[in-house]
Amino acid sequence: MNFGFNEEQKSLGETVAALLADFPALTGPDPAQARDPAVWRALADLGLFALLVPEAQGGVGLTLVDVALAIEALGAGLAPPIAASTLIATDIIAREGTAAQRETLLPRIATGDVRIALAVMEDGQGYDPAQVRTMMGGNGVTGVKILVPDADIADMILVVARVDDRVGLVMLSRDARGVAIRHHADIDPSSGLCEVTLNGAAVMDGALIGHAGSGDVISRLMDAAAIVYAGMAMGIAARMLDASVDYAKTRVQFGQPIGAFQSIKHRCADMAVAVEAGRSAAYYAFWTAAENDPDRSRAASMAKAYCGEIARDVCNETVQIHGGMGFTWELGLHRFLRRAKVMEHGFGNHVWHYERIMAQTLAARAVVADARAA
């Protein structure tokens, strides 16, 4: 048992962070300027999208836990959400895809030639993927998906839809007939949130992912996405903590750095504890996903709920600690606040995940009780 990352895992995180730092507009004040398409190519050239692809399909064959720190760096660097979406989709295809899907898609993902957006939510249905009304029928997929990050720049869209009375995953080409995309107006234009209207959208051959499998594909998707979002949330939180501490060391008021005042010092300490706590939850969840551990869904929900709350709190505190500078547009702290808020609502907010934790906890208790009774 060891809860540490190895050198390769750490180095991966540092490399991604360094790469993103080369694109300062990503974290610059204007979210509308933060969607440089060159970032995708640079990440692909780095090999990021090959990491989760099995060696048989030309990838590196790593698991989610191996890329945990890289994902944290994607969060901290406000990378385009399509990077995370594609990694999540890769995990699903590699684990749940048919041999044909794997052979067709994964080599192209590995080289960065396929960007995949994730389309889960629909208006008026809350967060639960079981509630979707989008339907795959004989003449294609029909329904309206909302809040799909970076759908406009994706090559493919992985859609949660009803198929044969079950909720499943369908892969569409973004250019397919019957696919219409509209940008949302929203608080974080850099997330590229889109509404995707599917009107008998043409499906690809073998477009159903994992439908013949364990039936676990939707919960695997929600878990993987929750964990990746939790990791990115911790990236944001850790970066904001660093910004607060740096500011507290240099900003002088009343003749001393404000970090000498307990009101600032203690708040930084509480944030540091929250960041460590959130990382504990997130890293453990990454591990359960990598191992497909029985605790996976509970761990994923704990990470998503808790890390989302922490990122929100730390962003708020960071604005406060920066005082007047904190609420300027130019300093750009709002970029992290906005992104964190969008991510908080992606793939289930804390209320939805806390409810899911409770359901998982009670189910696990029932199993133990049954075992004792037997």
Partner: protein
């Protein structure tokens, strides 16, 4: 204790209500709204303020001799309630009415009162506030903007920041250093500066919400007549404390409370009309807890303000209670907007003009704006120091 109204007070209410029914555009708040554009909105608000003034409803609590109507505190509260009831527009010259006017009334010379007060009431002069500087935020007394006396003029040099609405202002009241050798609280003066003076320039400062309510204001050899000092030279800190007591006081809080209350009502209406699965979002017990907490805190904002009004009515002086009021409303309002973003669920991030934005997308902008509440007008940290030291008597 008595929350009921006298016949005179009810008469005041009836007059105002009748006037408002005439004065507001037909369809106001239902089909007719404020302009979206920031500049147009500012001009709309200025026009509304002038209309209020023409109707005799500007600065109602000021003495009649300076253009007010000598309204009581209770009438002032009724005024606020009625403005809320119809969702009346905000004003542009809030700083003029609440801060410049109140400070000049309290500490100004008779000549200053005669000149400035009517022009504030009529909003011929819009005012901005020149207190903070890049290195004098929480530590306000460390302002460096200098005013050197030369004959009957001060020559002002320096930079102010967070000067709200400077771009629309004719006048600025500023805290400046007139004695660089004195201890930092003892060398400050309170000047009234004509924004058209040569050497005044402004640069808009965009805030977190993307709006440009604030500015940086630069003073480059700006000449200010010595007659434009409020109080004595080097006595500016004491004058500024009066201004801050008004800025943080119940008048300001009551006006804000009304807007928060309207937004909360809109939130509840939105949630009540939002389907969630087979039911409505308002049926969710967790959502109801959050809303009820916001209802309570917004109501307490009002009660705090009214209670402090009553203290003044009963003869108490203005004191650190202004900090209690400001600390409370700023956090309560932040909590409310954070709760709104929570409650609105998956579509919370979707803003106007997206057709899917909940409640017309107003909560997203307010949410972002609310992050400034606990920072401007004295950060929460400063308010806690004031309360701890001046109200509770804890050591520095």
């Amino acid at each position: 204790m008595d929350f009921s109204y006298s016949p005179q007070e009810e008469g005041f209410r009836a007059d105002l209500r009748a006037w408002l029914a005439d004065a507001l555009p037909s369809g106001w708040g239902e089909t007719v709204f404020e302009p979206e554009d920031e500049d147009e909105r500012a001009m709309f608000r200025l026009a509304w303020e002038k209309k209020l003034h023409a109707g005799g409803w500007s600065g109602i609590n000021w003495p009649v001799e300076y253009g007010g109507r000598g309204a009581t505190l209770v009438e002032r509260a009724i005024f606020a309630e009625e403005m809320a009831r119809v969702g009346a527009p905000e004003g542009l010259n809030i700083i003029g009415h609440n801060l410049a006017g109140s400070t000049i009334l309290r500490h100004g010379t008779e000549a200053q009162k005669q000149y400035f007060l009517p022009r504030i009431l009529s909003s011929d002069d819009v005012w901005c506030q020149g207190f903070s500087e890049p290195n004098a935020g929480s530590d306000l007394a460390s302002v460096r903007t200098r005013a050197e006396r030369r004959g009957d003029r001060f020559i002002v040099n320096g930079q102010k920041i967070w000067t709200s609405f400077a771009q629309y202002s004719q006048w600025c009241f500023a805290l400046v250093r007139t004695d660089p050798d004195a201890p930092k609280h003892k060398g400050l003066s309170f000047l009234l500066i004509d924004m058209k003076s040569p050497g005044v320039s402004i640069r808009p400062l965009r805030q977190i919400s993307g709006e440009c309510e604030f500015n940086e204001t630069f003073f480059d050899d700006v000449e200010v007549p010595v007659a434009n000092i409020v109080g004595d030279i080097n006595d500016g800190w004491r004058i500024a404390m009066t201004t801050l007591a008004y800025e943080r006081g119940p008048e300001d809080a009551l006006g804000r409370q009304i807007r928060f209350s309207q937004e909360l009502d809109k939130l509840i209406g939105t949630v009540a009309a939002t389907p969630r699965g087979d039911a409505m979002l308002i049926d969710d017990p967790i959502v109801r807890q959050k809303l009820a907490r916001a209802v309570t805190q917004v109501e307490v904002m009002r009660l705090n303000a009214v209670r402090t009004f009553s203290k003044y009515l009963n003869g108490d002086d203005r004191g650190p209670d202004a900090s209690v009021i400001k600390l409370y409303w700023s956090h309560a309002a932040q909590n409310m907007y954070e709760a709104a973003m929570d409650i609105l669920g998956p579509t919370a991030p979707i803003a106007a003009p997206d057709p899917l934005s909940a409640g017309g997308g107003r909560f997203q902008l307010s949410y972002l704006q609310s992050k400034a509440f606990t920072i401007y007008s004295g950060s929460s940290e400063i308010q806690r120091n004031i309360i701890g030291e001046r109200m509770l008597g804890l050591p520095r």
